[in-house]
Amino acid sequence: MNLDIVLRNIFREVFDDDELVISDSTSKDNVMEWDSVAHVKLVLAVEDFLNIRFSLDEVTFISSVGDFKESINKYI
């Protein structure tokens, strides 16, 4: 499984943008649409796809694609 591709597809789905390009530095600060609702959708979509469940601390900590990868790597 290529985590970069998994996350890219999830981000494209959540933000409804088939052309979206992401990197580890893609974050709440540089994606205007990444608000609290989008954050929940991202978290739930990642959890659903990977069959994992982040702690509340991790949900709060995650604010970039790099953070997602760091948290995911604890579970897979």
Binding site: M32, E33, D35, V37, V40, V43, L44, F54, L56, V59
Partner: protein, 470 residues
């Protein structure tokens, strides 16, 4: 592009056909204190409209085989929405409802084309049930069933092409989902987030839909509800909606101030029926001030505050006042020649109406109407009733310092109001205009489905009313 708005009348018709009378959708007075400031369109109502439009354009008679709907943005009454067909094939469609180009509802379905549908005579007449309120601690125990029903006459008015093209049992099942969420599970405090259903051909002799809670995700207050009926099965995803913010009572405030601390103030509080105005009114009355609160739509809330304060021995009355009405003929009508010495101005529209990163001129003008024009008119009205105002308080916001990306219009209008205060401090030599930039305080306006850092408004307002007495 096909556009429409949903009126309150449309909403009530949909409540009658679905049985979902949740006040978030049909009661403008209660809804103004909830998340969106106005009644929100039932998500299923909006989705059925979009499906109706698609069926009209394609002319098929279909059986759905699967359906996934996501409610991404709230739609409120009288808000223009647009229909968009994103993609379609011979056995599927993907359609959306947009608000100003942003996707509000996403609907993905697969279907089989059929020749006709069996007409079903439904057994039950839709009755208006009690809107239940299930506590978080009880949510995992919730299960039950609702009757399936379609009022064909009403359905023909609301969704004529759906009535002709979709199986009656599937229409009834979609209507049942909103009743389950809005009235039963969790009922009153619900936000319908999404659904994913699969359908099969089945005998229509069991006209009920069963539901039970599969999961509650405490991190997001998100409930997963399983549903099962003769032809449909799947999940509904629902968020707990926060209740409207109840501010502390008069007796609570009484403990915080000395009995005659504010006895020098005859305070007029514009927008005093809830939120910061309510807190300010109770604090002032606790300290011996004579207080008048104004309300626009919230007479019930204003009466409740007057009763609470009066029963506690405070001196308060309420006045109906619309800061948006023209100046002519709407001077403040205050009995017994009561004139304020102090004015507090809290009138506001719903503040979270902006789109991240975009400036909406209409929204900016709306904020200016409330925060600038309404403010200036209130001062003029005080003068018109013979008031010599000593001090005027205007609540600005830290958003002026660092405007949030979705509050550009709000921040700019608040900044404009600050300029008015500064100017009046130069030109109005008998009145002092005080404003400060308040942080995000815990009121109806700042309530959120997701956890946010809201500050207790009481210490902030106490500091302010003390400053107004000095």
């Amino acid at each position: 592009m096909i556009t429409r708005t949903f009126s309150l009348e449309n909403q009530i018709s949909f409540a009658e056909i679905s049985g979902d009378f949740n006040p978030l959708h049909v009661d403008p007075i209660i809804a103004r204190r909830l998340l969106y400031g106005d009644p929100a369109v039932h998500g299923i109502h909006a989705a059925l409209w979009a499906i109706d439009v698609w069926l009209k354009k394609n002319g098929y008679i279909v059986n759905l085989t699967s359906l996934k709907i996501e409610f991404l943005l709230p739609i409120v009454i009288n808000q223009p929405v647009q229909y968009l067909c994103v993609d379609e094939t011979k056995d599927s469609f993907y359609i959306s409802i947009l608000i100003s180009g942003k996707k509000a509802v996403s609907i993905k379905a697969s279907f089989l084309i059929v020749n006709s549908h069996e007409k079903i005579r439904f057994n039950s007449k839709m009755v208006k049930d009690e809107c239940k309120e299930v506590a978080v601690s009880d949510i995992l125990k919730v299960s039950g069933n609702v009757d399936l029903n379609v009022d064909y006459v009403l359905a023909n008015k609301l969704f004529p092409y759906i009535v002709n093209s979709l199986s009656p049992i599937q229409i009834s099942e979609l209507l049942a989902t909103t009743k389950i969420v809005g009235m039963r599970c969790p009922g009153l405090q619900s936000i319908f987030s999404s659904l994913a259903l699969k359908f099969k051909n089945a005998a229509s002799n069991c006209l009920q839909m069963n539901y039970d809670v599969e999961d509650f995700d405490e991190r997001f207050s998100r409930i997963t509800v399983n549903i099962l009926s003769a032809s449909a099965s799947g999940r509904l995803y629902v968020f707990y909606r926060p209740p409207y913010k109840q501010q502390p009572s008069y007796s609570d405030m009484h403990k915080l101030v000395a009995r005659s601390e504010f006895s020098d103030q005859r305070a007029l509080i514009i927008g005093g029926s809830r939120g910061l105005g309510e807190v300010t009114a109770k604090l002032l009355a606790s300290g011996g001030a004579e207080v008048a609160i104004t309300y626009f739509r919230g007479s019930r809330d204003a009466n409740s505050i007057v009763k609470d304060v009066t029963n506690g021995g405070g001196n308060i009355f309420s006045i109906n006042y619309d800061v948006m009405s023209p100046l002519e003929g709407r001077n403040l009508s205050i009995e017994n020649n009561w004139t304020p010495t102090h004015l507090y101005y809290f009138a506001t529209p719903f503040i979270f109406d902006g789109v991240r990163g975009e400036f909406n001129n209409e929204l900016f003008n709306k904020f200016c109407d409330y925060y600038v024009t309404g403010f200036v008119n209130a001062i003029d009205n005080c003068k018109a009733v013979g008031s010599n105002l000593k001090k005027v308080y205007y609540p600005s916001s830290v958003a002026v310092d660092t405007p949030p990306a979705d509050m550009i219009e709000y921040s700019a209008a608040k900044a404009a109001a600050e300029s008015i205060c500064r100017s009046f401090n130069i030109t109005e030599n008998k009145t002092e205009f005080i404003f400060d930039r308040l942080p995000r305080l815990d009121t109806d306006q700042t309530a959120s489905v997701f956890e946010v850092d809201n500050n207790d408004p009481v210490p902030h307002m106490l500091r302010i009313v003390r400053g107004m007495s000095n």
